[in-house]
Amino acid sequence: MQEIIHQLSDQFKADLNSSNTTESIENLRIRYLGKQGHITLLSQQMRNVPPDQKPIIGSALNQLRQTILDQLQLKTIQIQKAAEAARYANFDPSLPGYPFPHGSIHPISQLLARAVAAFRRIGFSLASGPEIETEFHCFDALNTPPDHPARNELDTFYLPDGRLLRTHTSSVQIRVMQQNPPPIRVIAPGPAYRRDEIDATHLAQFHQLEGLCVGPDVSLADLKGTILFFLREMFGPSVQCRFRPHYFPFTEPSFEIDIRSPQISEEWMELAGCGMVHPAVFEAVCNSRGDRAYDPDTITGFAFGFGLDRLAMNLLGIPDIRMLIENDLRFLSQFS
């Protein structure tokens, strides 16, 4: 009996060696362990074994059964692994990936989102106003006299009803102060219009980011600190900025802001206008509100306006402002 078990063990080893597919392994299992299998048949003969040999024979038989089971499982795993490996043998991970479409957000929108995030960090919230404006909001309340050159038909787009397309987002300053008492801390992005012939640096419709901060204790020092914070957020800590005295009817003192940065340009570049809100603007707001909430003797404020198109040109190295409205996909896809 033990002899048979030995032979069977050797025979299994030989069979296993010659079986290299999952089917042949399954056949092997049936041949040895199935209902009519060698091991099953041998087990049935156990009753003919003398009692004193039963433990030895039985244990040898069980051992063989276990070995066969283990070997079959092992071989099955080996075959599966080999098959998997064969399947991936020539896998080429250097092939390009799935061609996901590349959309993009317009550079101006991307920039605006960054600018808004920067101002939100220091407690500005968003405001808005109409693009079709009254002369009051765009000029009169902003201390711009009726015969000011900016108001003529050569420079400003008018509607047949006498209203106009706002020439700056500063009109939102008036709307915000009419509707809310101080303190004010808002930014207002949006388009503005000037009757300029379009060229490499001018668009008739351009994008501005207006800011207004008004309160009982707002000074030029706050304006400087705010602008510097914003410029560093946008252009990095190495940005240099200079406030060049300038003139706007609605601020005094007024400045233009130039920046210079090793990453962008060695030349000073004009980026924005700003200043302390002119007392005449506060007076106009008081008159239209019918109260003294914005009494210039107690209230001060600063305002600024950034040209987003110019900001985009500087930050992204765009040589011609018209590229921003030509919407060539070869341009847009560079900013995805």
Partner: protein, 797 residues
């Protein structure tokens, strides 16, 4: 304004480098926009005299000159100019010289004749942009000495003078500004002013609101001639063309003091001279050769018979200074800025004079300038001036003193200035009224030329400018500010942008101003009102405010198609105009072409389709929108649907008719949509979500293939099932739509819609009987209301 630094520096007691000057001007708010060099520095460019000239034997246009270069030996030069005569002194570039243009001069043979250098024009020496012929120098130019020592090089600055600072439209004004920054005094010798007398027989003002003060001074016996070179150079450097000594002096004084002057030929006019409003449709021939038709709002200077000038704007042909003029009147006056501005704009004339008058001139400079001009004319043109200046009208009152609260300075500027600081700084600009000065306030009298200084805020600006903004600290205080509705809307649009871009769409920005054809293109889809036309567009292509974003998208798709793009997925978020409300924020999408790039993984990417768009919008808007077909009144669309959100109509989506798309060079199907974000936003902003527990019991799926007439919409099937309100029905999923034009599997007029129905209960595991009941009820309803029949579902959808 163009200024010569060389001239400017004559007004200052110290020499300043050009870089320092530019820096100071920028700090003063006189922004330097550009700089350029005139003249030359090379010592090899010298002064020579032409001794003889003869024709070049081999060239018609050339001549051979013999010149005296001061060396004692004559030098032969071949020359192409013809404006000289023998004896003239001219600039000569010797071999080895480098011209300002970079050209190097060598001795050479020109058509067989030796030429040892080059005679130069003004343009070649960077003195003029273009010039005709050689620069002829005055007879006293020293032969052989370097040209640079005779006419030194100069740096010309182009500076921007802001409208509030007309006092800086003159050399003296700019110098005063620089002197204030340098804490020094300008160099300017005031001439002694003559007596003034009214004389109505000579001049009378009839329109005092437009001209408050008018003066004339007579000079007899002048000799009209070209101005000396130094004066011509100063005018040219400042951008004014020299004409003759008298006219040049008026321009010189205008540049020097900022007061416009005019010279009349006294013998060509017939006093008394009246300053009056023009009669309507009076005509006037101006010095520029143009004839103007005037109105009563224009101010004219007229004698008994003629209009002599448009006051403060331009002189006339009839009384102009000519070579034969011997007696002149010098006019110096004060005109009302807004009247000059109106006339100048209406007639389209902007002169050095009108430019200054419309911004405002120094009242105290009127007589000063007249006196200064007289002084120069006597010097350069000879003659004898009348002792008195004839005046009419009144000079305005001097400016009021300004009370300055020092607390206000510190509050506005955010920096503490001491009383002494304030005194020291402002004294450089204004005169202190010491009797009205205390510890916390001071009173200041602005100079007559500073028309912009009226309030204490104006003085704060001066303090800030003169100390330099660097001295103001940077302070940053962040205050909390609550989220506004604008913040919410901004974030809503940013989300949409992100989602669309991440699905492969490109955001574009097109102009709000569009042509009329575009404005009317899709009108009936979006608004019932007329699109808004501008009163003064820049051109017909930009004459209307867009009622829709779609025309802009189509033009953009068109240009990209021209540039070779196949796949064109675009969107724009922007304002549309003319509806109700008048301005609304819209989203528009245009899709055309393959929906992704062809690659080894996807050989034939499907083109964008209506259902791609619909799926995208449903995804972005969280299935809160639905599409309802309507018959488009516009033939541009082959398929048109309205987009609803809740009960409100908020947009439109459709397929462009292929023939219309062809006009835009678009050969794939073009899908368009436009949605009002204002209307949609209310459904998305402030939305909160609640957690839904997972189903506790298993669901049962049953498939159903419904055969209906081809024209039955899926929405009818869907709503028929939905209307049963079966509590067990959890989901309807469409998985196949099948037509069979051959009629083998399905009659050609029918279609098969295969759906999968999911049944589910939250209370119990469903029995097959329950499911069967619901399933049959659904089939029954479909059969009844849509005459549907049923077939075995496609086993392999």
């Amino acid at each position: 304004m163009k200024i010569s630094t060389r001239w400017l520096l004559t007004f200052l007691p110290e020499q300043i480098s050009t870089d320092n000057l530019i820096n100071l001007l920028n700090r003063a708010g006189l922004t330097v926009e550009s700089t350029s060099l005139t003249g030359c520095t090379d010592p090899n460019i010298i002064i020579a005299q032409i001794l003889s000239s003869q024709k070049h034997p081999n060239a018609d246009r050339l001549s051979i000159c013999s010149v005296d270069d001061g060396s004692g030996q004559n030098r032969q030069i071949v020359c192409g100019a013809s404006n000289y005569k023998v004896g003239d002194k001219v600039p000569l570039a010797l071999p080895g010289a480098t011209l300002p243009t970079g050209v190097k001069i060598k001795a050479s043979n020109i058509r067989g004749v030796r030429s040892e250098g080059m005679l130069c024009s003004a343009a070649e020496l960077a003195l003029q942009d273009i010039s005709d012929g050689l620069l002829i120098l005055p007879p006293d130019a020293p032969i052989g000495s370097s040209f640079a020592s005779f006419l030194p090089p100069d740096t010309i600055l182009e500076i921007e003078v802001t409208p509030n600072r007309p006092d800086c439209l003159s050399y003296l004004g700019i110098a005063r500004e620089l002197a204030a920054f340098l804490d020094t005094k300008v160099i300017f010798t005031h001439p002694t002013l003559p007596f003034t007398t009214p004389n109505p027989e000579i001049a009378q003002i009839h329109t005092s609101s437009n001209c408050s003060f008018y003066t004339l001074r007579r000079i007899r016996g002048v000799r009209i001639a070209p101005s000396p070179l130094w004066l011509q150079r100063r005018l040219e450097a400042s951008g004014i063309r020299p004409i003759n000594n008298v006219v040049d002096v008026t321009n010189y004084v205008l540049l020097e003091l900022g007061q416009p002057l005019h010279a009349f030929d006294a013998l060509k006019l017939n006093p008394p001279i009246s300053i009056r409003s023009a009669n309507s449709s009076e005509r006037f021939l101006a010095l520029n050769g143009c004839e103007y038709t005037l109105t009563s709002s224009d101010t004219v200077i007229a004698d008994q018979s003629n209009i002599l000038a448009i006051g403060g704007v331009i002189g006339g042909e009839s009384s102009a200074i000519s070579d034969s003029t011997s007696e002149i009147w010098i006019e110096s006056a004060l005109f009302n800025p807004s009247s000059i501005r109106a006339t100048s704009r209406r007639l389209g004339i902007s002169t050095e004079s009108s430019y200054r008058f419309e911004r405002g001139v120094d009242p105290n400079a009127v007589i000063l300038a007249s006196t200064r001009a007289t002084q120069l004319i006597l010097e350069l043109a000879g003659g004898q001036a009348d002792d008195n200046i004839i005046v009419c009208g009144q000079l305005p009152n001097p400016p009021n003193p300004i009370l300055l609260h020092h607390n206000y300075v510190n509050k506005l500027l955010g920096h503490i200035f001491s009383d002494t600081d304030i005194h020291n700084i402002l004294s450089r600009i204004c005169s202190p009224v010491l009797s009205q000065t205390s510890s916390n306030t001071s009173t200041w009298l602005p100079p007559s030329w500073r028309l912009d200084l009226k309030t204490q805020t104006d003085l704060c600006e001066e303090i800030c400018r003169l100390t330099g903004i660097e001295s103001i600290p940077n302070r940053l205080i962040a205050h909390p500010s609550p989220t506004s509705s604008n913040d919410l809307f901004f974030d809503f649009t940013i989300n949409i942008r992100n989602l669309l871009a991440s699905h492969g769409l490109y955001e574009i920005k097109t102009s709000s101003l569009i042509p009329q054809n575009d404005a009317n293109l899709f009108l009936s889809h979006f608004t019932t009102s007329e699109p808004i036309r501008l009163r003064n567009p820049l051109g017909e292509d930009h004459s209307f405010l867009r009622p829709s974003l779609l025309p802009g998208l189509l033009r953009c798709a068109n240009s990209n198609s021209h540039n070779g793009a196949q796949s064109i997925p675009l969107f724009e978020i922007g304002t549309t105009y003319g509806g109700s409300p008048e301005e609304s924020s819209s989203l528009a999408i245009l899709l055309s072409g393959p929906s992704s790039t062809q690659s080894w993984l996807s050989n034939n990417p499907p083109p964008y389709s209506f259902f791609w768009l619909k799926g995208l919008l449903n995804h972005i808007f969280d299935n809160k929108i639905h599409f309802e077909p309507f018959s488009s009144p516009n033939s541009q669309f082959i398929v048109a649907t309205h987009i609803h959100c809740g009960n409100s109509l908020c947009g439109f989506a459709g397929i462009l008719s292929p023939s219309f798309a062809e006009k835009y060079d678009l050969h794939y199907e073009v899908i368009l949509a436009e949605i009002s974000l204002d209307k949609l936003a209310t459904h998305f902003i402030h939305q909160t979500r609640k957690f839904q527990p997972f189903p506790k019991f298993p669901s049962v799926n049953r498939d159903l293939a419904i055969v209906v007439d081809k024209n039955v919409a899926f929405s009818s099937i869907y709503s028929t099932i939905k209307n049963l309100k079966d509590p067990l029905l959890a989901k309807i999923h469409l998985f196949d739509v099948f037509f069979d034009p051959s009629g083998q599997k399905l009659p050609p007029n029918k279609k098969s819609i295969a759906i999968s129905l999911t049944f589910l209960s939250n209370q119990r595991t469903l029995t097959s009987t329950e499911v069967e009941q619901s399933f049959n009820r659904i089939k029954q309803a479909l059969a009844n209301s849509l005459q549907a029949s049923f077939r075995e579902p496609n086993p392999n959808p």
